[in-house]
Amino acid sequence: MKDQRLETRVDTQTIKIEARKAQVYYGTNHAIKDVDVDILDKTVTAFIGPSGCGKSTFLRCLNRMNDTIPSCRVEGRITLEGEDIYDPRVDPVQLRARIGMVFQKPNPFPKSIYDNVAYGPKIHGLTRNKAELDEVVESCLRKAALWNEVKDRLAAPGTGLSGGQQQRLCIARAIATSPEVLLMDEPCSALDPIATAQVEELIDELRSQFSVVIVTHSMQQAARVSQRTAFFHLGNLVEFGETGQIFTNPRDPRTESYISGRIG
């Protein structure tokens, strides 16, 4: 019933990722129940909900990062441009090149800033020569709004940057493989307010090229950066719709109590 209004909006934009009756189990624990979500192209989608509601788990299913956890099992259907990403023919490595990910804690590799960004293009063989690689690194650092701060010290270790810079470096690293979708798992939770503002601004700019999915525990952040919001509670997708509608006129009482601060 809640999807009915969405159906009408879907026509206007292409769907990148579509999840139908997605279930996630950790061993015997049923962590995600019957989730149906459409991720639209060139849109920021926010997943909100109280801690432990399964929003991060679900996010990690979208590029099969949960494969690294042995006890984790996914059922239902999740497709990228109509192709089931859990099909046995799918190579998760190729999938992740198209659906990149940025993590909660900035995790630059213990390499130079340049090598951090060049890592993805190198392993995927996206460039033919050094000049092209230089170009990719520069453009990604520019897109990540980091170029001006680091252009003189590209050979310096990435771990030497400040927290906000590190996270933008990680974003640059993730977009260097030119993914179609960028998953962000609470990308600002380890940052101070100024760095958070910079990253949020960046997310808004990235929307022109990518589809972005962001998990956040901050409702303000969801309201600021996203166009569409999904509210998770106890492993269920409670409500999914336009961000403005979710925050001003929630239809589900649980959404309302979360937004007004009664649960979570």
Partner: protein, 482 residues
């Protein structure tokens, strides 16, 4: 009095001290223990400690010092002309000790010894009967020295019994005299115990002092009779029984480094790849079986590896590699020792590397996998570079272990000091020569024996440097991720 009963008596005195001390404390307050500063057992404990501990320390110190004292006394009785040319006083003393021992044993078996002592040849036969074989008939001064030795030992033990018992009694009396209701028995006990604790932790320091001191002392002694320049710069190792030896360090160091290098070439790839597989790929159950199985290799005594090199690996390499390739026909070789030592070192590399790889934060792996790297790309390009300092530390520790290893090279590498490149030739190492120079029959004060201390010092310095370097690197690495 012999040691066993003496110790038991002192312990019994201690127990008595505990009971008396306790009772005395209770008696002083007429049973109202609230008036005591400390609980009654503390009064007992301090009494027992003061009774037993000083006396036992005295016995231990006495036993350590006793041989040196009584032997000088016996040695002074040996006439200079009774020490044969080319033999040291120490060898004569060994005879003296054997005679003294044998006479005691004959006495124990109820044989009249007075007539034997008068006739050296009869004594020799009698001693032979008691399975004590003397090369020559004991000389008169040897017999006198042996008698003095026995007497000195007997009187020393007698004196020890008296002094130790006296000390125990004094301790007991002193402790009892101090017991009053105001006496802070608990504090006294704890102060006493604290001193014992401090003394225990000083044992480690004393061990180091002992190692460095004895190595340095004898090395200086060595350099006084053998030129240091020859030791450090000569490339020839050729000890002679009659003096005029060449004792150059380099052939030994070369052998040591060659064997260790082969060991590391075997152990580092196998150890590191096993650690990577266990840390990154293996399921929990595989890991819980395989990791201990590999660590068994570290728990096997080195003598076992030595025998394995001697009876299995050495002949195998000789028959199937060295001989067909025309590289020699020795079953002990650098390759034999290196290969076996490599097997021994695998767990040192793999355990430490495993810990270090596990300490690399998961977030780094996620970052790499999240943008589409394969696990092996992640390991090679992110995890290993991040863990590199720690892995280098692990390899250095393994190298130090290989350099200091003795039994495998004693049994597998051979005894010929050579500067050769052929890995199937027998070569020798620093540790092998320490063993052979110190277990040989040469006189202790000769350069051929003392060189072992210079070699020991070289070995100690080398391994210590590697260990400290490794510890610094590993510690730096740990700090990076804490």
């Amino acid at each position: 009095m012999s040691l066993g009963p003496l110790t038991l008596i002192i312990l019994a005195l201690g127990l008595a001290g505990y009971l008396i001390g306790r009772r005395r404390a209770i008696a002083q307050v007429a049973g109202d223990i609230r008036k005591l500063h400390s609980l009654p057992p503390f009064y007992g404990r301090i009494t027992a400690l003061l009774t037993v501990v000083p006396a036992l320390f005295l016995i231990a110190a006495w036993l350590l010092a006793e041989p040196a004292f009584i032997e000088t006394k016996a040695l002074s009785l040996i006439a200079a002309e009774d020490i044969p040319a080319g033999k040291s006083a120490a060898l004569v003393m060994a005879d003296v000790r054997r005679v003294a021992d044998g006479v005691a044993r004959l006495q124990d078996s109820g044989i009249e010894i007075a007539p034997l002592l008068a006739s050296p040849s009869a004594l020799k036969t009698a001693l032979n009967g008691a399975a004590i074989v003397l090369e020559t008939e004991p000389t008169v001064s040897t017999l006198a020295a042996a008698a003095a030795l026995r007497d000195a030992l007997a009187s020393s033990r007698f004196a020890l019994s008296i002094v130790a018992l006296l000390l125990a009694a004094l301790g007991l009396g002193f402790a009892l005299s101090r017991i009053t209701p105001e006496y802070r028995a608990r504090n006294a006990t704890e102060r006493f115990a604290m001193w014992l604790l401090v003394a225990s932790s000083l044992v480690a320091v004393l061990t180091t002092v002992g190692i460095v001191g004895s190595l340095l002392f004898e090395t200086i002694h060595f350099f006084q009779i053998y030129p240091a320049a020859d030791f450090f710069f000569s490339t020839e190792w050729n000890p002679q029984f009659r003096g005029g030896s060449s004792l150059g360090l380099w052939p030994l160091v070369w052998g040591t480094l060659y064997v260790s290098a082969i060991a590391l070439v075997v152990a580092v790839p196998i150890g590191l790849m096993s650690a990577i597989y266990l840390a990154e790929y293996a399921s929990r159950t595989t890991r819980s079986w395989v990791k201990p199985a590999i660590e068994i290799l570290a728990g096997i005594p080195t003598i076992v590896y030595g025998l394995f090199a001697l009876i299995t690996v050495g002949p195998l390499l000789r028959d199937y590699f060295a001989a067909p390739l025309g590289l020699g026909n020795s079953s002990s070789s650098v390759m034999t020792a290196g290969l076996v030592m490599g097997i021994m070192v695998i767990p040192f590399v793999s355990s430490l590397s495993d810990d270090i790889i596990n300490a690399v934060p998961q977030s780094l792996r996620d970052g790499s996998l999240g943008i589409g790297a394969t696990p092996s790309e992640t390991i090679r390009q992110v995890v290993i570079p991040a863990a590199l300092p720690g892995i280098v530390g692990a390899v250095l520790l393994a190298a130090s272990r290989a350099i200091g290893e003795t039994m495998i090279v004693v049994m597998g590498a051979g005894a010929a000091a050579k500067l050769s490149l052929n890995p199937f030739e027998a070569m020798t190492t620093v540790t092998v020569k320490i063993v052979s120079q110190l277990t040989g029959d040469t006189e202790f004060a000769s350069p051929e024996t003392l060189v072992a201390f210079a070699l020991g010092l070289t070995l100690f310095t080398l391994t210590l440097a590697l260990n400290i370097l490794a510890l610094i690197i590993v510690r730096k690495y740990r700090e990076q991720y804490e």
